[in-house]
């Protein structure tokens, strides 16, 4: 998959504090870029809707919005944290960490 950009947003949670960033893939180190691409492949965005079925929002759970943009296609996933499959956790962790870093950088 040839990905240009990932838009990440985390809202909700007890604190209700919004984290958001647009992550340009070309700005990332090559190994991190590859790690994210691998994790996105594993997440299997085409099938994700089925994986997300059957879960309900939990009080104070995070709400994620992840938009993956490539030249050919755009995927958007909107989901509460309880809905996401466990194997997406590492991807969320990386995106959260990159988002926090970007927000700190902007604040400086």
């Amino acid at each position: 998959m040839n990905i240009d950009k990932i838009k990440f947003e985390r809202t909700g949670g007890f604190a209700g504090i919004r984290l958001a960033a647009e992550i340009e893939m070309d700005d990332l180190p090559e190994d991190q870029k590859r790690e994210i691409l691998d994790l996105l492949d594993e997440a299997d965005l085409d099938e994700l809707s089925e994986k997300l079925s059957g879960k309900m929002p939990i009080p104070d759970g995070f709400v994620y919005s992840i938009t993956v943009e490539s030249k050919e296609k755009e995927y958007k996933v909107l989901a509460g944290e309880s809905s996401l499959p466990d194997d997406m956790q590492p991807l969320i962790e990386i995106l959260e960490s990159l988002t926090k870093r970007q927000m700190r950088k902007k604040a400086d």
Binding site: G16, M56, P59, M103
Partner: protein, 384 residues
């Protein structure tokens, strides 16, 4: 039409799906439709949380206060390993003791003041898990138990924004109250009912703290989550019931987005429709009422709110319903035209809502679902 949905049965809140189905790309639309179909096919087999809750059986206590604290050891598996049972001596781990003492103080408030025996009213065991995941900036109620993260303990000290979530006792009261709401009003976790759900948790979370500190309404700080933000953050806490929108204003985290008046109500698809944002409005109404009445807020104002949560609110209730119901409840508890009832009227007026004491809203759920909502949207079912 939003209030006809049952978002708790949906995978993604239906207002989000509706938005995707309306504005999304073809792929997004098909995802939204598929998701709604899957959700609908599940619904026949699924019951409301409070009607069918294995934890209510598993965690049934013999009658009194029974707490268990578990340690997730930075993993995601719940509940984790037992680290403290009811009656055990304190642990060397401060988070264990905070979860134990905080859930105990919350149990005591509900028992002593509102004569409620635990979350379900029948002595349900209070299960709490600490050290959930790594660097987890959150606490939540998963329908069965309370769960707490350690904040940013995995980050360098100068980058940390959040401390551990057991540090503030009102966070514990907040999470446990989500359990009470699940068994009583069952307020759906989206839009205005969701913001009311959140506000109920803030109100009783704050009352747990005020009771513990033996503070009268004018002595309390009315801050939710004081101590949760590190000194790197410019803020006194997460929310202010006294002055919504003023709890923090920070270069990294931004500004507290809470409104304190209906004129500033925030419409958003994030945060399940702004449940942690618009809760500022009913929060502030409660604050004004408690200040009007003086003394201890958990006594009169808290009683009015508790009875309203237990006996009046339903899953689809909105702010106006809550205003009308609390006014009605105050009349029933303290007399029509009593100072308590007048205070309720004043409190809601302060946030831009005029109580209507004459026409109580219906007390049954419309029983609609996300699939029928979507079918109406795409024209496959008649409009309401």
């Amino acid at each position: 039409m939003h209030n006809h949905y049952h978002p708790i049965n949906c995978i993604v809140p239906p207002h989000m799906l509706e938005n995707i189905a309306t504005n999304g790309t073809t792929a997004q639309k098909s995802l939204a439709v598929h998701t709604l179909k899957m959700s609908a096919s599940m619904r026949g087999q699924r019951h409301a949380l409070a009607d069918f809750n294995p934890a209510a059986f598993r965690a049934q206590a013999i009658g009194g206060k029974e707490r268990i604290i578990y340690d997730a050891k930075n993993k995601s598996t719940l509940p984790g390993t037992v680290v403290r049972n009811e009656g055990d001596p304190p642990s060397t781990d401060i988070a264990v003791n905070e979860a134990y003492d905080g859930s105990g103080a919350t149990y005591d408030l509900y028992k002593e003041i509102y004569e409620r025996n635990s979350i379900d009213g029948s002595g349900m065991r209070l299960d709490s898990t600490i050290h959930y995941q790594k660097g987890y900036d959150n606490a939540f109620w998963n329908g069965e138990q309370m769960v707490y993260g350690d904040g940013d303990e995995d980050q360098p000290v100068e980058d940390r924004l959040f401390n551990r979530f057991t540090i503030a006792i009102d966070v514990i009261g907040h999470e446990l109250t989500h359990g009470v709401t699940q068994f009583e009003a069952k307020l759906s976790y989206s839009q205005q009912p969701g913001a009311l759900n959140e506000s109920m948790s803030d109100v009783f979370g704050s009352l747990v703290k005020q009771k513990q500190l033996n503070q009268t309404a004018d002595q309390a700080d009315w801050i939710i989550g004081a101590g949760l933000l590190t000194t790197n953050v410019n803020g006194v806490g997460i929310r202010s019931m006294k002055a919504p929108g003023t709890a923090y204003d920070d270069p990294v985290l931004g500004k507290d987005p809470q409104p304190g008046h209906m004129d500033d109500y925030v419409t958003t698809i994030s945060d399940n429709g702004g449940v942690h944002i618009n809760s500022g409005i009913p929060n502030h109404a409660f604050y004004v009422i408690a200040m009007e009445l003086g003394d201890y807020a958990w006594e009169k104002a808290g009683q009015i709110w508790y009875v309203t949560l237990k006996d009046k609110l339903i899953s689809t209730s909105k702010f106006q319903d809550c205003a009308n119901f609390t006014y009605q409840t105050a009349g029933e508890l303290y007399g029509a035209g009593s100072i308590q009832q007048q205070a309720v009227k004043t409190g809601w007026a302060e946030v831009g809502l005029t109580v209507d004491g004459s026409a109580p809203p219906p007390t049954t759920d419309p029983g609609d679902g996300c699939l029928s909502s979507l079918l109406r949207l795409i024209g496959a079912a008649p409009a309401k």
